[in-house]
């Protein structure tokens, strides 16, 4: 995927929009790794991420003519990806008993700065990624949308189907869940004082 600030391949996109299969193939190769990584972070299994990646690009191919070239293609693609992944996750959530959304009813306490600092310093990227697996679906999705694809609060609200004012709450709760998952037995997520 084009890194932040990198110029988007506008010509390639334009050609792909006209039905140029070569251009479409190049566009896929350009963006597929990043979208797969996005899905990998958002979806519970590798197989789900692979399926989601293919389905997102199938959807993209259908919707490509609707793309407004005056807007960021990357942001638009991430929006499609986020909507698709969240749709899949919601269906899974409806089917499985594993649902952690009831954590919303639990009040959050401010973390102890020293413990939070220790946690941030000691944890590796791999540990964070593993901890993501233990999060609730919405929490995980919110974190991925915000910190992987840099989506705005409005976009996150739109994708998750919540009011914009709740996005901060969702993210904060997601961080608490993540800290708890990372800290395991430590009292970081709940043991702080104000």
């Amino acid at each position: 995927m084009s890194a932040p600030g990198k110029t988007e391949p506008t010509e390639l996109i334009a050609r792909a929009r006209t039905g140029d299969t070569q251009a479409w193939g190049d566009l896929y190769r350009e963006y597929a790794p990043a979208i797969f990584r996005f899905c990998r972070r958002a979806m519970p299994t590798r197989e789900d991420a692979e399926d989601a990646t293919m389905e997102i690009f199938m959807k993209l191919r259908e919707k490509l003519v609707q793309y407004d070239p005056s807007r960021s293609f990357t942001a638009w693609l991430y929006k499609i990806a986020a909507n698709h992944c969240w749709d899949m996750l919601r269906r899974k959530k409806a089917r499985h008993d594993k649902d952690t959304e009831d954590i919303d009813d639990v009040a959050l306490e401010c973390p102890e700065p020293n413990q939070l600092e220790k946690l941030i310093e000691e944890r590796t990227g791999e540990e964070v990624r593993k901890a993501l697996d233990k999060l609730g679906l919405r929490a995980r999705m919110a974190l991925v949308m915000r910190y992987y694809s840099d989506m705005s609060y409005d976009e996150i609200a739109d994708a998750l189907g919540v009011r914009r004012q709740f996005v901060g709450v969702v993210l904060l709760r997601a961080r608490h869940e993540l800290r708890q998952a990372l800290g395991e037995s430590s009292a970081l997520a709940v043991g702080g004082t104000r």
């Binding site: 089917r95 941030i120 964070v128 910190y147 104000r194």
Partner: protein
């Protein structure tokens, strides 16, 4: 810490910002005024400043962790290709060929022998399907029973079908199936017939002298028909006494049924006991525990009866086809007799003008005074002794292929649902529990729906759905057994390979004598439960986002770029 220091810290704590506000500040989501307040506060509050920095570092840790390229793009998605569409194209030819084979197997194994027997029993050269469905009384009944409620039921079912398959509507095959189903439903739901009367009550009597013009539906505990019905009569009752005249057919679902009057058409009935002392001009098709054609009773054409005890003292104009434990004939059979059961007794007063064939456990007792056109042909059936020639195993293989074909079509149309269903089968307790409920409950419910006038179409549709589930059950159980043998797979073709292995294993087990039947029953219950469980899970409503309990700060506009962040 001294008391003044503690008081100072306490005062500072009281003014501290909550984590939510600090996070929104870091994320630049606060309005200018609130952001300035935070900025000023963090210039004097070390604790909040630290927390602010930590939240920012945490954000960076999250971004860094997520952006790290820890996995290469999997080979199977390295190039874009429309997998399902392309891979499935060639399979339709195979599917069609196997489907034809499956239909042929079904026809030659089950339908054709029955058709032949029914034809021999006096149903003439009529096609079985058209006889039973399109020309028979049931079809007329359906026509009469189409009401607004049934039309609504069809619309609801169509809506449900579209909703359930909306994800697959882009696929041509799903569209074809959907439209074919709707077409079939439209064929059934032809315009309603008029002049139909409905009567309901504990005790219903059509008195002598009363004439009902047109068809009549009667539901009641005790039903007496002494008058005349110029049409068909549909009776759902505990007890029926028909001593009047029906110019059409009598269709009955009755516990105890006695016909002493005259019926110009047919009797088609399922009841506990049926006694005919009157006259039926055409055919009788009866499934009863006890059936008796009294010496004064007369059937103009054929008699087809199934049950525990059949007694024919009266006169049957044409053939008699019997499926009964005990059959006794002492009357006149104008055509041939063909019976299946335990025993047959042909008494002295009996006369059979056609061939007499009996397949059973005991040699038929034939009185020397009975008048038979030919000597009875007897075929002994050995109980529990199944003769399994090579043909049996050939058909088992063909049926296994048909099951696999069925599984392939289902999995091709609904790959995700197929995998979910197999996954549900892994939950043994829930699958079996739900399976028992569905296996018996849906069937009983469908029958109840059928015998209540409004629910006939819904009931028949439920039976169809039940049958589809019954056939799919073996494929589902095959899927989970295959996964137990070969391990889990989430891609289509590896998944289907496991289904193949599993179905073959299940078919082998269900082929074993004696055990096979019970294994088959267990598989049916288990598989139906798994399908129901998967459907149940899929239809669960999605939870709505909850109202947060954390106090919120207003977030009208993002923090302007020139806003200073205290200490950062």
């Amino acid at each position: 810490m001294s008391e003044p220091e503690r008081n100072k810290e306490k005062r500072l704590d009281e003014k501290c910002m909550d984590e939510m506000t600090l996070l929104l500040y870091v994320e630049r989501q606060l309005d200018r005024e609130t952001a300035q307040g935070v900025s000023l506060h963090t210039q004097t509050c070390t604790r909040c400043l630290n927390l602010l920095r930590l939240l920012d570092r945490e954000s960076r840790l999250l971004t860094r962790s997520m952006l790290e390229e820890d996995e290469a793009l999997p080979a199977r998605i390295a190039e874009f290709h429309e997998r399902v569409k392309r891979n499935m194209q060639w399979i339709w030819g195979v599917v069609f060929g196997l489907a034809v084979l499956g239909v042929y197997a079904l026809y030659t194994t089950y339908i054709e022998p029955w058709q032949n027997q029914l034809q021999q029993a006096g149903f003439g050269g009529s096609n079985l399907l058209s006889l039973v469905v399109f020309q028979g009384a049931f079809w007329k009944g359906w026509q009469s029973m189409i009401t607004l409620f049934e039309a609504l039921a069809v619309m609801i079912m169509a809506g449900f079908g579209i909703f359930a398959f909306r994800r697959y509507l882009r696929r041509g095959s799903a569209m074809a199936v959907l439209f074919a189903s709707l077409g079939a439903l439209l064929m059934v739901t032809t315009p309603a017939a008029s002049a139909t009367e409905f009567r309901k009550g504990d005790s219903i009597t059509i008195p002598k002298g009363q004439v009902i013009k047109g068809d009549i539906f009667i539901t009641g505990e005790h039903v007496r028909i002494e008058g005349e019905i110029d049409g068909d009569a549909y009776v759902f009752a505990q007890q029926l006494d028909m001593s009047g005249h029906i110019s059409g057919d009598l269709i009955g679902f009755v516990q105890s049924e006695r016909v002493s009057g005259t019926i110009d058409g047919n009797i088609r009935t399922a009841s506990n006991n049926l006694t005919i002392t009157g006259s039926v001009e055409r055919n009788v098709l009866a499934w009863n525990q006890t059936f008796e054609l009294d010496s004064s009773g007369k059937i103009g054409r054929s008699l087809t009866a199934g049950g525990q005890t059949l007694t024919v003292d009266g006169k049957v104009g044409r053939d008699f086809l019997a499926f009964s434990e005990t059959t006794t004939i002492s009357g006149l059979i104008g055509g041939s007799f063909k019976g299946h059961g335990k025993s047959l007794s042909i008494a002295s007063g009996a006369q059979i003008d056609g061939k007499t064939e009996f397949e059973g456990q005991q040699v038929p007792e034939v009185s020397s005074e009975a008048k038979l056109a030919s000597a009875p042909a007897f075929t002994k059936t050995e109980r529990h002794a199944e003769t399994r020639g090579s043909g049996y195993y050939v058909w088992r293989v063909i049926w296994t292929g048909a099951f696999l074909l069925f599984g392939l079509v289902l999995a091709g149309l609904m790959p995700k649902f197929a995998m979910e269903t197999v996954e549900s089968a892994g939950n043994l307790g829930a699958s079996f529990g739900l399976g028992v409920l569905v296996f018996f409950g849906v069937l009983i419910g469908s029958i109840i729906a059928c015998i209540t006038v409004v629910g006939m179409l819904v009931g028949l549709s439920s039976v169809m759905l039940w049958l589809v589930m019954l056939f799919a059950a073996e494929v589902v159980v095959g899927g989970i057994v295959g996964q137990w043998i070969m391990g889990h797979a989430s891609e289509f073709w590896p998944f289907f390979l496991r289904v193949v292995v599993g179905v073959v294993a299940v078919r082998i087990v269900t082929t074993i004598p004696f055990i096979g039947f019970w294994a088959g029953l267990a598989v049916a219950v288990w598989g139906m439960g798994a399908i129901s469980l998967a459907l149940y899970r899929r239809l669960q409503p999605t939870m709505a986002p909850n109202i947060p309990s954390v106090p919120m700060s207003p977030m009208n506009s993002p923090l302007p770029p020139q806003t200073t962040v205290g200490g950062i």
